[in-house]
Symmetry: C2
Amino acid sequence: MPKARLTPASVTEAAAALVDEVGFDNLSMGLLAERLGIKTPSLYKHVASQADLAHRIAILAMAEAGDTIRDAIQGRSGSDALAAGAQAMRTYVREHPGRYAAANAARPTGTDDPFVPASERVLASWAAMLSGYGLDPGQEIHAMRTLRSVVHGFATLEAAGGFQIDASVDESFTWLVNFIDQGLRAGVTSASAVAR
Amino acid sequence: MPKARLTPASVTEAAAALVDEVGFDNLSMGLLAERLGIKTPSLYKHVASQADLAHRIAILAMAEAGDTIRDAIQGRSGSDALAAGAQAMRTYVREHPGRYAAANAARPTGTDDPFVPASERVLASWAAMLSGYGLDPGQEIHAMRTLRSVVHGFATLEAAGGFQIDASVDESFTWLVNFIDQGLRAGVTSASAVAR
DNA sequence: GCCTCTAGCTAATCGCATTAGCTGCACTGG
DNA sequence: CCAGTGCAGCTAATGCGATTAGCTAGAGGC
């Protein structure tokens, strides 16, 4: 049997894959150890505790989500960027529900916590998506929070199986993104109309 | 010492108050028992398990939220109903974060689960709020999901301390509700222009 | 070839949910 | 008013999952 040479990073990666399968609250040290072919206490040679492990998964998830969104909006702007970014986010959550749950449960441990820059990068992507709409600076923070809320809300409700009725969830998401896009564009025109 | 005569309902109520204080994931049978002035195993005379307890909290929360929202939109319609309902929901989540977390974590156990009608009543209120906008029937489900997503998303992000920047969160929420309202009103007129 | 360093192991501890079995009090029927 | 019954609460015990202590052997450096 091959010596896989475990590291904190590889353990975290395995744990992330595990939570996506069994759900974040079903994460257990025993289950993870079994997947890695080692005994439970051996895990503590790589991570400090289960809380530490969860935090590492959260950092990984935030970094991955940040990359995914940034790649999606690359070279796009305005409506296209919004649609691509939102879809990328939703897809990420759908494919990695456990990781996303870990990221949501995480709280920064301090100013030097890698989780902080990772989430800032995600926020930066959201901001970039909005920049194309030429919003009034005073509105930007509100628009950003609205955008975050709606995408986060949709993704978590979907992941939790909150949409029961058999109407296409894909279609609803497209509708939602369109709705936001139109609202943002209307805001721009009415704002400048006032200025004019 | 007064005999408080515990019941499943009173235990659930105490547990709900407890989770609002300490957070849903910090709920423990020992802590609850201590609050009630009894020993941990005695709790099992009233609830079947911790999972059962959590589920009862979820049902309570959903029922309370449903009542609160319904009361808020009483006698209002259109934009007013939307604003009042959304505010009521957010306020409920802010005042009862633990209960709300319990409700989100809950999954219906069957068709006779009281959780089902309780959540349906909440959904009915959302639907009532939207009815004033005279949306195209085919759009209603999407609008409903969008509305749920944005309010749920905002409330959970706020409860999780997700809004770091020191801009007024109240103001952001008002902005958000206004944004949705305007979009819905505009959507009525340009509903058929979705193809774009 | 020897030494050290450490991943992994076994055994033990701890906290918390849950179960088993006992007991006294409160309310019922007579 | 009294015996009988039911149940809330208690203590003691079980079990599982996280975590810690202490040991061991194999890999890489000298």
